[in-house]
Symmetry: C2
C-alpha cells in the first residue's frame, strides 16, 4: 500500500474521464477533480462534471481560460464539427495543445497539493487521431515534468497515468458498467442540446462502444 494516494483526475464529464475517476476511486486513490471551462461550445459537460464530482463528495477545481486564437471547431462555432474520415487526418475538432494545457494545469495542482499521480482518460484506440491522446505523448509529458517541476527535481515524481489508453470503447463501456458509473449523468456529445446529436465523432465512438458491448446507452432512453 502506497502512503500518498492523493491524485488529480482530469474530469470533463464524458464517458472516458468519468470511468477513469471511478476506476481511480476503486483502486483506493484519493482524487481531487480538475474541470476546465475553456470556452467550449456548450457548458453542459462542465455541469455534468461538477455534478459527478459533487455526487461523490469530492473536492474539485474549475480552471477558466480562453484561447483568444480559437483554431478549433470545439471552441469556435463558426467552424464545422467535421468528422474524422481518415485515420491519418486530424479533424477540425482538434483543439491545439489542449491536453498539453490541461495536463500543465494538473501538474501545477499536483505540485501544490502534493499529489503523486495525475490520471486522465485519454484513449488511443477508438479516437479521433488527436496527437495528444497517445501513449507516446504521455511518456514525453512525463519526462518533461520530471525535470520541470519542484517535485520532479526533488525526486518525488508526479506520475501521469492514462488507464484507458489501450482500451476499446466497448471495453470502456463494460468497465464503466462494472464500476457503477452513472452513465446517465455523463455527456460526450460535442453539442450541448437536450439529447446527444448522435452524429459527431464523440457520439459515434460512444454509440459504437455501447453497441459492441451489447448495451443500451441510458442517454438514448431519455
Amino acid at each position: 500500500m502506497k502512503k500518498n494516494k492523493k491524485c488529480v483526475v482530469l474530469l470533463s464529464g464524458g464517458l472516458d474521464s468519468t470511468t477513469t475517476l471511478y476506476y481511480v476511486i476503486k483502486q483506493g486513490y484519493k482524487p481531487v477533480c480538475l474541470i476546465f471551462d475553456y470556452g467550449q461550445r456548450h457548458k453542459k459537460e462542465i455541469y455534468c462534471a461538477k455534478k459527478i464530482a459533487k455526487s461523490l463528495g469530492l473536492k474539485y477545481y474549475v480552471v477558466k481560460f480562453g484561447l483568444p486564437w480559437k483554431g478549433s471547431s470545439l471552441i469556435n462555432k463558426k467552424l464545422k464539427l467535421t468528422k474524422s474520415k481518415h485515420k491519418n487526418v486530424i479533424p477540425l475538432t482538434y483543439v491545439p495543445a489542449r491536453n498539453i494545457i490541461f495536463l500543465s494545469f494538473a501538474t501545477s495542482l499536483a505540485e501544490v497539493i502534493d499529489a503523486n499521480y495525475i490520471f486522465f482518460g485519454a484513449n488511443q484506440i477508438d479516437f479521433s487521431g488527436y496527437p495528444d491522446c497517445r501513449q507516446e505523448f504521455v511518456d514525453a509529458f512525463q519526462k518533461m515534468i520530471n525535470v520541470g517541476t519542484k517535485k520532479g527535481v526533488s525526486g518525488k515524481k508526479i506520475k501521469i497515468v492514462a488507464p484507458l489508453i489501450n482500451l476499446t470503447k466497448e471495453e470502456i463501456v463494460k468497465l464503466a458498467v462494472k464500476l457503477g458509473v452513472p452513465l446517465q449523468n455523463t455527456w460526450s456529445c460535442y453539442k450541448g442540446a437536450k439529447r446527444p446529436c448522435g452524429s459527431c465523432d464523440s457520439c459515434r465512438f460512444r454509440k459504437m462502444g455501447f453497441k459492441k458491448a451489447g448495451l443500451v446507452d441510458p442517454l438514448d432512453k431519455k
Copy 2:
C-alpha cells in the same frame, strides 16, 4: 534564409523577455507576443508588456487564467516574497508549473498561426533556481511537443528557443543596451509599486546585472 520566420514570443514586460523580443526582431523573425494575466500580485508588468508590443507595432494576445489553488507568493499576497538564499532551495516565489503552462499556451498559438518557433526569456545562470527555467526542461518540453502536436507529428516541428538561457544578468543588460531595448519601459520587480522595491529576488538580480555591466538602470533614475 528560412521561409517561415513567424514566431511566438512570451512577453512579461521584464528585462529578460523584452530583450528576447528585441533579439528576435533583430534576427529577422516576425513575432506575435503572448502576454499572461494569471492573477499576478500586480498588473504593472502586463501594462508594460502591452506597451512594449504596441510600441513595436506587434500583434499580441493576452491569455487570462487563474490558479484557484494559488501555491506561490507571486499570486498569493498572504505569502511572503521570500528570497532564494541557497542555490538548492526553490523559493516561495516559484509558481508551480508556470512556464509549463505558459509554453503550453504558446504551443497552442504556434499551432494555430503556423509559427515554427517559440522564444522565451528563461535564464539558468543568475536566477532563483526554478526548475522550469533550465535547458534540461526546455529540451524535454521540445520532445513532448514534437509528439503531442499536429505540427510535430506532421514533421513541421515548433522549435522552442531560450536565447538568453546561458547568459549572465550582466550579459543580458549589455545585450539589451546594444539592441536598443527601452529599459525604462520594462518592469522586473515582483511588487507593483511606483518604483522597484530593490530587495526582491528579481530586483536583486537586475541590480547586480546593471552594476556588473557598469550601467545605471533607468528605473533607478526616475
